[in-house]
């Protein structure tokens, strides 16, 4: 039997504000435990939360960038549950009246563009952090993160494969980075995602029983966890079993999902409007102000690079999928105006070297100007394209600029005919058999001669000139 996968994602993005959502405490990550707290975020009795205007602005930005309707009137609600990381006994969130609804984004998978619906985006506060003791049956509560502003972005169950889910996640990640409303750091948890996933027989309308996946803190893990869960559910269904609705945690060490241990009782959050927070009424004026201030978005930047520079769909998609990478590209472009060649280098050499080092573009030792200089040296014939790759690797390691590396390693391309001809003569005398064979018609041996010359020059011979001179020398005699 063939199954169809149905996935919906819930993404939590921490907003890049200076202060928390309802108080003036800092949102800075990594401070000593419980040093960024005050009576409001500690949940002391009698305090009054006051909403950070920037949080509303960022949520509207996200809504506009994802084609949402902005609810002109929206409202906070209390989500009631008891857990030690939640000092008030309720989380302030939005329920019936979220700030944004009914949006969509487009993703591209296998050259097909697909529209994914966004059910809603709402504002809420983050909870604190629990650190479990290794030996004693106790946990330590750090409330620094309590009250950090979040937006939760809920997708429609429109995703039909782990690949589409990963593409959607990357898309939203790119958007929050372009809008500069979230730092997007998945390891530190400022951009995190839960997934609902179920399988149904192909052609069936009704959804199957879903499971909820948590703890996937990288793009790779999201896709791997979903792929695992597709296999797990399919095996159960093919054996005639039933999928149990439950929350599963992804374990990246064993590459499998495990049921989360929790009490059996169903959640009953008893949401109700928070009387401490008055309704938010958003004016047309405010929306217009934010609309005109929106930066160029990933899909717009992609189209521009395709149209103005002639980049391929794939290259432009990958480069603009990461704001920092796109900025890097466009900074280098100021000094080196062959966009296609530059894109090629970034897509192959740069991304490969970064991947090998497990680095982000922001950590890259080679600056955009440095890359521009290197490529200019190739265009001018100072070094060959092949040598440039060696130089680039050295630049990635040492952070030195191209000129210095070329000088230090004596890598300047040899374009002096006299020098090259001398070596060619030596090669011809040293390999009489091959010369005879070549002249007898085995022209494939050209590769052998070029190789010899490259060996003698440590790869520095100008390749075109080398070919030309070799051909002349071999044919003439």
């Amino acid at each position: 039997m063939e199954f169809e996968t149905v996935i919906g994602l819930e993404i939590h993005a921490q907003l890049k504000t200076n202060t928390k959502i309802f108080c003036g405490c800092s949102t800075e990550f990594g401070k000593p435990p419980n040093t960024n707290t005050c009576p409001v975020c500690l949940g002391m009795p009698g305090v009054l939360p006051v909403l950070n205007r920037t949080v509303v602005e960022y949520a509207i930005r996200m809504g506009l960038a994802t084609n949402c309707e902005i609810n002109r009137t929206n409202q906070f609600a209390r989500k009631n549950y008891f857990y030690p990381d939640l000092p008030k006994g309720y989380q302030i969130s939005q329920f019936e009246l979220p700030i944004c609804e009914h949006g969509w984004v487009e993703i591209t998978v296998d050259d097909t563009i697909k529209r994914i619906g966004l059910t809603r985006i709402h504002m809420e506060e983050d909870a604190g952090k629990l650190i479990h003791d290794d030996h004693e049956p106790v946990s330590y509560v750090d409330l620094n993160r309590t009250g950090t502003p979040l937006i939760e972005i809920v997708s429609e169950p429109d995703l039909r494969s782990p690949e589409e889910a990963a593409a959607y996640l990357r898309k939203l990640h790119a958007i929050v980075r372009y809008l500069d409303i979230c730092d997007g750091n998945m390891q530190e948890g400022s951009f995190r995602c839960d997934a609902n996933i179920s399988l149904r027989p192909k052609g069936q309308e009704a959804f199957g029983t879903r499971t909820e996946l948590k703890n996937m803190n990288s793009f790779r893990n999201v896709q791997k966890a979903l792929e695992y869960e597709v296999r797990r559910q399919r095996d159960i269904l093919l054996d005639g079993g039933k999928v149990v609705q439950q929350t599963l945690l992804w374990d990246p060490d064993t590459n499998r999902t495990n049921a989360m241990r929790s009490k059996e009782e169903a959640h009953d959050y008893r949401y109700f409007p928070d009387p401490d927070l008055v309704p938010i009424v958003i004016s047309e004026e405010w929306i217009n102000e934010i609309t005109v201030s929106l930066p160029e978005l990933p899909h717009q930047r992609k189209s521009r690079l395709i149209e103005t520079l002639g980049l391929s769909e794939d290259d432009a998609g990958i480069i603009t999928g990461d704001r920092e990478l796109a900025d890097y590209f466009e900074t280098a472009l100021v000094r080196y105006d062959n966009g296609k060649k530059l894109a090629n280098w970034i897509m192959t050499e740069l991304l490969r070297e970064l991947k090998e080092r497990d680095q982000e573009i922001s950590q890259c030792q080679v600056t955009p100007d440095g890359l521009a200089e290197l490529l200019t040296m190739v265009d001018k014939g100072t070094i060959s394209g092949k040598i440039a790759k060696t130089v680039f690797q050295e630049m990635m390691v040492s952070g030195k600029d191209a000129g210095t590396v070329v000088k230090e390693k004596n890598l300047v391309q040899m374009s002096d005919e006299g020098d090259l001809l001398k070596m060619i003569d030596e090669i011809i005398s040293a390999n009489p058999d091959q010369v005879t064979e070549y002249r007898g018609g085995k022209t494939k041996l050209m590769g052998f001669f070029v190789g010899q010359l490259m060996q003698k020059t440590k790869g520095r011979a100008n390749p075109q000139l080398a070919n030309q001179l070799l051909a002349k020398a071999l044919d003439n005699k």
Binding site: G24, P33, N34, V50, P84, H132, D133, Y140, V278, V281
Partner: protein, 94 residues
């Protein structure tokens, strides 16, 4: 009856209240009278009234995104039943 003893026990469980059976029964009677009293409101015709969440007409009570000093940690932790100078200490849940 507006509420059953089972419902009282369910709500108590959500609120992490440990009610004995007799307490739950007593509460059921009390809550039942409270709910019956609140039912008086249903005598009003509200079909033409917009649902409201606040009794005041204030909207958009915002603050600017400006840093304010946090509490010194000793003060933040002082009311915790158990703490170690850095964090609140609680029984382990998971």
């Amino acid at each position: 009856m507006k509420i059953t003893t089972d419902e009282v026990k369910y709500v108590a469980a959500l609120a992490r209240l440990d009610l004995g059976h007799e307490e739950a029964e007593a509460m059921t009677g009390q809550l039942d009278r409270i709910l019956a009293y609140i039912d008086t409101l249903n005598e009003l015709d509200t079909s033409q009234v917009e649902p409201t969440t606040h009794a005041i007409s204030v909207i958009n009570a915002f603050r600017e995104d400006e840093l304010q000093e946090s509490l010194p940690r000793e003060l933040a932790l002082v009311n915790g039943p158990d703490q170690n100078g850095e964090a609140f200490v609680v029984p382990r849940i998971i």
